[in-house]
Amino acid sequence: MFKALLTIIQRDLLVAFRRRAELMNPILFYAIVVTLFPLGVSPDKNFLSQLAPGVVWVAALLAALISMESIFRQDFDDGSIEQLYLSQHPPMVLIFGKVVAHWLITGLPMLIVIPVMALLLFIPNQAIPTLFITILLGTPILSLIGAIGVALTAGLRGGGVLLWLLVLPLYIPVLIFASGAVSASIDGLATSGHLAMLGVGLILALILAPLAISASLKISMS
C-alpha cells in the first residue's frame, strides 16, 4: 500500500516535470497578485508592512485555488481516476498520494516566492521565519481542502467558478491563523498559539479530507 502511494506520487511528479512551463504558472500568478496591492492601495512603506500579512496570505489562497483545478482534471477525463478505484489498494490512500504530489509541485514553490514577495511588501526580517512556518503548515491544508472542492466539481463543465465559491469560505480559518501569526511576529508578540491552531488544522485535514475527497470523486464518477 505504501509502495502504491509512492508510485502515485512519483508518477504525478514525473508528469508534472514533463510539462515544466505549467509549473511556473502559480508562482507567476502569485507574484502578479501581490504586485497589484501596492499599485492599488499605496506604496507607503509603513502602510504596506501593516497590510502585508493579509496580502501575502490572500494571494496564497488565490494561487492555491487557481493551481488546484489541475489536480484531478486530466486524470478524471481520461479515466485514470476510475482505474485507481478499481485497484486492490484503498482509493483514499492513492488519492492522498495525488494530493501530496500536487502540493509538492504547487505548494512547496511558495516557500521560495512568498518570502521574496514579503520583502517587496516590507515585512520585517524578524517575521520571515514565522512566515516560512505558516507556509509549511498552511499550504497543505489549502491543498487538502481544495481537493475536496475539485473532486466535487470534477464531472462538471465550467466547474471553475463554482469551485471558488465552494472552497474559499472553508479557507477562512487558514487565512486568519496564518496571517495572524505573521502579524503577531511583526509586532513582536508570541506566535505559538496561531501556529498550534494551524498545526491542529493540518492534522484534522490530513485525517478527514482524504475521506471526503475519495467520496466526492466517487460521486462525480457516478
Binding site: I148, L152, L165, L166, P169, L170, I172, G180, I219, S220
Partner: protein, 245 residues
C-alpha cells in the same frame, strides 16, 4: 421505531404521512406567530437603552437560531443520504439549503437594520456577524453545487458531502473568527446581542423561536412533498393521486 423510519424513506408513505401533519403545523405556526408578534410588538415593554428598535430581535434572534439549526438538519440529512441513500433525505438536503439560506439572509438583514440605530452603522466586522455571513456563503455553495449537477440524486450526494464538510468547519470558522476579532480590534463597546433578558421580553422571544421552528417544519414538509410529486410523476401512485383530485 426502525420500521417507522424505514417506511418513512418510501416517498409514497412519506407523502401520506406528512400530509396529515401539514394542517397542524400550519395552524400552530399561524397561532404562535400571531401571539408572539402581538406580545413582542405591543405588550412587551420598551427597552430603556435601545428604545423601540430592540423589537426587531423578535425576528432577528429566532432567524439566527434557525440559520444554524437548519444547517445541522441539512448535515444530518446529508449523512443519512450518503449512508442509506434514501430519496427523502436527499430531497431534505436540497430543500434545507434553500430555506436555511433565506433564514440566514433574514438574520443578516434584520441585524443590519437593528445595527444602524443602535451601533450607528449597518455593518461591523464583529465575530458573530462575520460568521453568519460565512454561513450564508456555505449555504450558497451547497445550493449552487446542487443546481450545477443535473442528475438530482448525484447532485444531492455532492451537496451532502459539502454540507458535512461545512458542519465540521463551522465551529472552526466560528472560533477562528472570534479569535481574529479579539486580536485585531479593541473591544467595541457594543450592546451585547443577548443580555440577560427580563421575562416580559424573553417569553415572546421564545414563542417566536418555537413559531419559527414549526414554520420551518411546515415549509420543509410542503417543499419536500412538491419535490416528491415532481420526481415520482411517472409512478402509478402519483398518477392515481392526481387523477383523484
Amino acid at each position: 421505531m426502525w420500521s417507522f423510519f424505514h417506511k418513512l424513506s418510501s416517498p409514497k408513505y412519506y407523502y401520506e404521512w406528512s400530509g396529515k401533519w401539514i394542517p397542524w403545523l400550519g395552524g400552530i405556526t399561524i397561532l404562535l406567530t400571531a401571539l408572539g408578534v402581538y406580545w413582542g410588538l405591543v405588550i412587551a415593554p420598551t427597552d430603556y437603552q435601545q428604545g423601540e428598535s430592540y423589537r426587531i430581535i423578535f425576528i432577528h434572534v429566532p432567524a439566527a437560531w434557525m440559520s444554524m439549526f437548519i444547517y445541522m438538519v441539512m448535515a444530518v440529512a446529508g449523512f443519512i443520504a450518503l449512508v442509506w441513500k434514501t430519496k427523502i433525505s436527499e430531497i431534505v438536503v436540497s430543500e434545507c439549503a434553500v430555506i436555511g439560506a433565506v433564514f440566514t439572509a433574514l438574520a443578516l438583514i434584520t441585524g443590519m437594520l437593528w445595527g444602524k440605530p443602535t451601533w450607528g452603522t449597518y455593518w461591523q466586522w464583529d465575530a458573530r456577524l462575520t460568521s453568519e455571513l460565512i454561513l450564508l456563503f456555505l449555504y450558497l455553495g451547497v445550493i449552487s453545487i446542487h443546481s450545477a449537477i443535473e442528475d438530482p440524486r448525484i447532485a444531492a450526494r455532492a451537496a451532502s458531502v459539502l454540507a458535512i464538510v461545512g458542519i465540521i468547519n463551522i465551529p472552526i470558522i466560528h472560533y477562528s473568527v472570534t479569535w481574529w476579532n479579539s486580536l485585531h480590534q479593541p473591544n467595541m463597546e457594543l450592546v451585547s446581542e443577548s443580555p440577560s433578558m427580563h421575562p416580559s421580553m424573553l417569553i415572546p422571544l421564545l414563542i417566536m423561536a418555537i413559531a419559527f421552528k414549526v414554520y420551518f417544519g411546515w415549509l420543509l414538509f410542503i417543499r419536500v412533498r412538491n419535490e416528491i410529486i415532481s420526481r415520482e410523476r411517472s409512478t402509478n401512485w402519483v398518477k392515481k393521486l392526481i387523477l383523484a383530485s
